[in-house]
Symmetry: C2
Subunit: 136 residues, 2 copies
DNA sequence: ATAATCCCTCTAGCAGCTATAGCTTCAAGA
DNA sequence: TCTTGAAGCTATAGCTGCTAGAGGGATTAT
């Protein structure tokens, strides 16, 4: 049995965030001490670790609810989990592609050695989209 | 002189977003018609295009305020603009790097042909961070 | 004149936290 | 046992960058 501060330290999830997850229904309301403070068990630690890891991989709170539900039922089929992961993967790839276009553009406009705004490629490009090489 | 709807169509920025930008001080409050409707000029169009393009490149509202300020003063030195662009570039690159790690991890755990949760790599990995190959 | 379409302001909501205020409880040392 | 300082409690508001809705007024085409 340990306090919310302990749990926070062990998982790396900030205290208000833990309370927020509880409010959102991601973690069950834990037992309380005589003085109404939260007391967590090993189970709570596992569950929060699962959540933290899922968040780190970019799953939404809603997705995580589903994944947690699944993880509680080992005998169930897991294609839902596969679907969620596949969608996340697609999403991540799309974001990468978009960011790469941005990177190219930013790099290009950063290669400007003007000294005043009047001749600055950064400002000029922002003002005139047609100067861009890629679309975004 | 054209209406907010016209401006929206010409720039691709949604109407509530235009009003939001006005509220945030990115664009000046435009003239009004007799009936209190916003009427924009060519200048307003240019400014909004600048904003839209900057947002598309990922600059924050605050950054854009600075860039707009600069763009109004062609005689000023432009290293501030360069700094902002450089920081954006760094940020974009960091995000790309992070997303690539996520991509690898998601791909790895998606390569799972189990049928039930009990043996599913997705669920298992989420539950146990130490199964990950990269950090995130 | 009238109907369809636009526009107005104000307020609230989204995600995923984070911060603050004002209070209570806990744990460790004297 | 008492005290003190850290840690915890709830409730509410704020962050970014929009977006949606309610309940009205303005404009425009016929």
């Amino acid at each position: 049995m340990f306090s919310i501060g302990e749990l926070s330290k062990r998982t790396g999830v900030k205290i208000p965030t833990i309370r927020y997850y509880e409010q959102m229904g991601l973690i069950d309301a834990p037992e309380r001490s005589g003085g109404n403070q939260r007391r967590y068990s090993q189970d709570g630690l596992k569950r929060l670790s699962f959540i933290r890891h899922s968040r780190a991989l970019g799953f939404s709170i809603e997705d995580i609810k589903g994944l947690l539900e699944l993880s509680q039922h080992p005998e169930k089929p897991c294609h839902d989990a596969h679907n969620l992961a596949a969608r996340r993967l697609e999403d991540v790839r799309a974001r990468i592609a978009k960011l790469r276009r941005l990177e190219r553009e930013l790099k290009r406009i950063s290669d400007c050695d003007a000294n005043t705004v009047a001749h600055c490629a950064v400002i000029e490009t922002l003002a005139d989209h047609s100067l861009c090489e890629t679309d975004h």
